[in-house]
Symmetry: D4
Subunit: 253 residues, 8 copies
């Protein structure tokens, strides 16, 4: 398709439809257009179910409002993560249909309907304090068009709760495992399932937890295979990776 673009310019030039200068200009832009193309291609894929993303933390409500409004006007779906209620209320002023997921700290505006995948992303969380991160992952995955199942409060210190849900957990195509404190959940899970696991350490804990470092190191050193890790509290990132993986199953059908 890139070849065709060059060919078309050459032909239009040969046929005198465009001047030398116009051909030069058109061709000169191509390299960047090509890289821009990558971007457009990328965008198109994203549009196939993935909303645009605004990382709200560190931005003023006013800034978020402006970005969200522009995206919305251009027909984009909007996903705002790490959004406070203040962020949401500013957005709400200009986009009536904006929705706020309080626990997940997510703002969503939809211009397009969400089609759900057949494959399931399972979000498994160790403790109730891990829920904000788990919900950030779950809501993000849902807004990206995935069917999501939640398995909450199944930490490894009460193993029976996890084993109880094992059959359902095994039916998921991808798993997101969210845990703070000592972060052992993904390891135990990794020994029991055969789906890829995206592990999310949370900053839940105190003392020698060092704001999530403990859970992070645990997950990176997991002696179970099939576990890969994202940044502390990065529920969004885990959902994004899980979405890319889940889509592989969808597209292959």
């Amino acid at each position: 398709m890139y070849n065709e673009k060059i060919l078309q310019i050459l032909m239009e030039f040969k046929q005198g439809k465009i001047s030398t200068d116009e051909a030069l200009e058109a061709l000169k832009k191509l390299p960047y257009e090509d890289l821009g193309f990558a971007k457009i291609d990328y965008h198109r894929e994203i549009r196939k179910g993935f909303p645009e993303v605004i990382f709200c933390q560190g931005k003023t409500p006013e800034q978020v409002k402006e970005i969200a409004f522009n995206m919305f006007k251009n027909g984009s779906d909007v996903l705002g993560t790490r959004a406070s209620r203040e962020h949401f209320e500013a957005v709400k002023e200009v986009v009536e249909k904006a929705v706020y997921y309080e626990e997940a700290r997510i703002i969503s505006i939809r211009n397009t309907p969400i089609k759900k995948t057949k494959g399931i992303i399972g979000v498994v969380a160790a403790g109730t304090s891990d829920l904000p991160v788990a919900e950030e992952a779950a809501i993000t995955a849902e807004l990206m068009g995935n069917t999501v199942k939640r398995f909450y409060d199944v930490g490894v210190a009460g193993l029976h709760r996890l084993l109880d849900k094992l059959d359902e957990i095994r039916q998921c195509r991808v798993l997101i495992a969210v845990a703070g404190m000592e972060g052992a959940l993904p390891t135990v899970l990794g020994g029991l399932v055969s789906s890829p696991i995206i592990a999310v350490p949370t900053s839940v804990g105190y003392g020698a937890n060092f704001h999530g470092l403990s859970a992070l190191l645990t997950m990176l050193n997991s002696c179970a295979s099939g576990v890969s890790v994202v940044n502390i509290d990065n529920g969004f990132g885990a959902a994004y990776s899980a979405s890319l993986i889940n889509r592989i199953g969808e597209e292959s059908k």
Copy 2:
């Protein structure tokens, strides 16, 4: 299927095909067999292309020889990672057809033929010093039945080399991105492709690299989405995760 097993035992018992003791024994094992079942099921999946794995580092050549020999005798494929030449030579004594991948530090013994996937795992490595880890990933992935393409020496400090290979890289279903020093490769890659990326920090570097910590932190903090991370130098773990993901595409067809 688990139900069927219990049902079958019950019926055989009722029909007198097995004695009370035999039924008791069979049933008593079930809970464990069930969990073992998970294991067996897991094993079976693994056997669909995934060899058994021995982490050789820290084991004596004698120990590795013994484990490998037993596995081999039982018809298993054998995959030994972090294997020194001494490990290999010990294994070679008892299993003639053992193969050693020197750079990847992998011992392989095959009882079953390897069937290659249609989907491709791309192994992208930043520098020549990262090759041992990249090869551990690539050979592991191949021995697990994946079609693998290698893209080596495409570090981000010489961007054109990476861009030059971009079309081919985009055709991969999953990517393993291996980089040491500042570890920026997965971030740049993540902005250019739409496949899930498993990032492997390597311990290549010196000084403020702190044995791979620098690359690890870079990858965890990547501002590109779709990147998840394994432990420093863990080429095997990246390949294992990538295999699970690649299989999703194969099985869905």
Copy 3:
């Protein structure tokens, strides 16, 4: 008894049996003798089943030989930890009946017979690479007079192996849980048993393990209760603590 000592000095002084100077001297020394007493008391307790301990690492074979020989001559039992074969051979030259536990790196010389406790100390270890530390704990505990049961290779990534042994593990009065890499064993164990658990992180692992830091932090942050932790690779310390606890059960009977 202390009162009596003072009384006796006072009386001898009043009765003129000792001079003012002698009374002064005798009384002045008392505080230190009292504290020295503490020591003797402490030693006596130790002799009730606990051998003397030499930390051999960092000492020359010659030094260890000398210390061990003197202890032995004085009728003490001798326990040398972190002992290399060189240390042992030096000791063997002068004390024929010295015994070396190679994997545990322990030298033992007994002047007194070992009486075993009724209560059991269970030593639970995650992987085969953790065995040197687990054996240091197990042999130390045995030499301190405890009945010890070993549960090895029951890491949480293969949960069924651990569950399989659970009944036996639950019969132990105290547990020592030894694990490297991500160190999740004590947490899972803590949710399944009601005995106190002494957790020993090992330096087994690589990369973001940081020489045992990962397992140490995991154990300190364990979300299971009843878990306390000793230094990385400190099998001896865990056994010592477990012995003190086990003795509580013995003595109470």
Copy 4:
């Protein structure tokens, strides 16, 4: 006992007392019931003197109120740790007899009377700033049914205060040693007593204390034997471990 359960189901099935479906159902549940059993067993033990525990920090007063109320209604004793006054006041609204230990930050609701152990848990604290953590340990231990003695402000920089209390300290079956700053108390104590010591580093200090890291490392590296360590500021965890140990002495009688 597990065998008997299976046998019983088999027999009832053979004798037609239960249908195939009922036998199937009963047997299928067994593995989970067994693990659930663990839970029940565990619960029963806990009920033998140990209240249920809510970690309040990070939960809203509303959430704590709801959990506490449900526990209380079910006849459970309730122990809420890291509870603020706000948490307490919310609970107080629905459970009149809730009690708040301000310094220990503990909420307690009792449905059952507390029976005290004969064995004593000694809580030894270095400085006045360590008292909140020491009190968390002491109150927790008391609510778990232990007889507790407090030895406060006996830091090692004023050794005579510690030595003054030594006789009483030696009469304790288990010791909890709480210290911040340089955290030397457990080491000095470990050289003077023969009870097991659970050491609790506190985050008291500044500068190179690094929020308790200094005291934590000191305690892990203690050259005195018989010392094991819990997380920074984890008074509850120390009390829980000490309770398990103390109970060994009670039960053996």
Copy 5:
């Protein structure tokens, strides 16, 4: 010129214009004056376009007001960094023409006009959250008399944006590259340009970012040459270094 000062004193002394004591005094001070000379020399250079600098953070508005007022009265240009609006308003009370750059947190008072360099300092910033630091660098550089071009929001996860600006970026004599999170921008930039790059890690990010440590390590380990690094968030320091470098080009002409 230093020689001349000594010469002058000697001559005045010989000619009786100054007494022995006065000569002694004058000469005794010289060594210090010489080092003071360095200072004066340094100041003079600074006055050639570089304002005086007050690091406002940690100073009270009152303190900053006083320092700024005295400098201003003495004819100095004043540059206050890390200044809050409160700092500015205090200064504004006494120096009407003080200017505040809100995003850059800089107060400027000019007694002398700013002459712009021919050579350009390019300030390249990865994300919108990095702008306060980028602006601190840009405004500082401008107030030091440099011509500055801003290239913002050109992070490496969207490579085309950076490549799009490459021609303009290449025309800069020195580059300041500002990035938080994974901090890969200077490395990618370093492979594409031939100007020296001053890299500024920012504290933008969360979790394993550890307040900028991640970006700092990335930049120090950059596999691209020509990159040197300043402290986290130190936009001022980068601008100062860049100014010294840019001046080399100006002065050589």
Copy 6:
């Protein structure tokens, strides 16, 4: 003097002035009194110019008030460090003559006059932001009876200011060197003087300063001899050490 106490009791006992019981009691207490003696001895020394010390941080104003009042009533001098204005005002309510050193965050109450030493403690501070710590050191040293000279704002980045004061600095018997950020002052000082230097790192700085870690490591690694270091921001500790050293010179005369 200790001997005399015992002697006195013995004599009073022999002379029938005290009964056997009374002698016993008096003597029994002696061991503790002996250790208390150490304390008393220590106190006496302290009273020779050193006030009692309350570390106020982390104590409530009410607690500080109570401690200070009791000390004051007993004739002690009182020194409260890390005291907020709230602390002071609470103390002021009950002890009219309490004095507050705002910048040093010190409360002082004197029952005894301060006699100044001949030897001088020099407090050398690098920057204006280091003054609170420097003043804590200076005021503490003065209240402990030392003659103190302050050399402030003589950081090594403007060397002439330091050299200018060198003669005066060299006349000090002991030096306290206070510096934050890169903490180079003690090293440079150590190469220029022959007095012992107590170095105090401060938490002044940002980014890779890591709350004073940078300055702390610099000082510990100083290539100049004669430098020893106290905790970050520990002006009091430096003054205490310097006082002990200064007293050596006083007492020897």
Copy 7:
């Protein structure tokens, strides 16, 4: 010049000198050629005095030999850093005129003569143990065509040595300041000169030096302006940055 290339292709196509396919091919390659162009342009600049660079550490002598030989054959100058004598001897076998700088661990092969700059790069080193890193910087800078002056053993603990050389140091256009241990040299230097300083922390030291971390943090926190920092022991990187800066002065003339 890029425009001209496109123009030329267009014209040759219009004039029928090249076929449609040839034009297509030529144009299609342009984007990459353009980025390649960047590379070529970059190379050309490098050839203006900068040799190609091989980072030898972690490569086998055989690998280095091969790379060096190919570079040499293609007319490139070759610079091998972190080269052991073994590396050199392997290279020497195939390129007779290879030169080895032992202390700097550098291999150099020249196809082109070196032209020296007018501007001077000063390499200032604190201690004799820092010399390998200082020499790596100095030799690299010389091989890149810079005039280099060495100022060694001028650490700040003996300030007079540094001040003694100050006049000469001030005549340098750029400074490279190399220091280990506490790393204070660049700060002191930064207060005395007005050239840009590239600071190189070395791993010289022990204990709390943590392999150069101490010096690295010191330099990043320098309170003197105009200092930027490279990785620990990275003499090459400092020289490269200094060369880019020095070239600015040369080219501007």
Copy 8:
């Protein structure tokens, strides 16, 4: 004396004994000579009992030989620290009377006799593994002319040994406290004595000791006053500081 030098030059100039140029030259050099003077002054002081010091670690035997020989020839006393036997043997070749202290790793050559101080430096060490560092301190202090008393193996886990020596320890003017592992010795000592204490953490230990970090942090956070700290294993530095302090007592007499 500095004044006199200037005066002399002025007078010689006025009297025509030296020309204008000569006066100029003489005066111009003065500032540096003055600082050089500082050095000479410093040297002279050192010669009053303090030998010159060579830090041998990281230097070749050949280098140490050369430096030592030159010093020796110039009449200096020579002190070589961190010297291996190889270093010593090289020195021995050229200076017959060189002496080697094996455990302390010190080479000493004396041109001048050592005069001992009246005041005593006490070197107190916790464990036998700390002896190399303790001996480095003790031998250094002795070679610097101090009377030294050693108190070894008095770690705080066996308190009575320390208390037993307390009287003698209290007679020392300065104390050096050497301890590894948890490093509690200086804190306990600080509560019992009134001399200044220089604390030396050693790298003795394993696991969470982190090469001495544990002991270092303990000592910096000591809750006992009068303790200052030097780098890990820096016995020499402690002795140097202690010597400066001890000399204060000597000189004051």
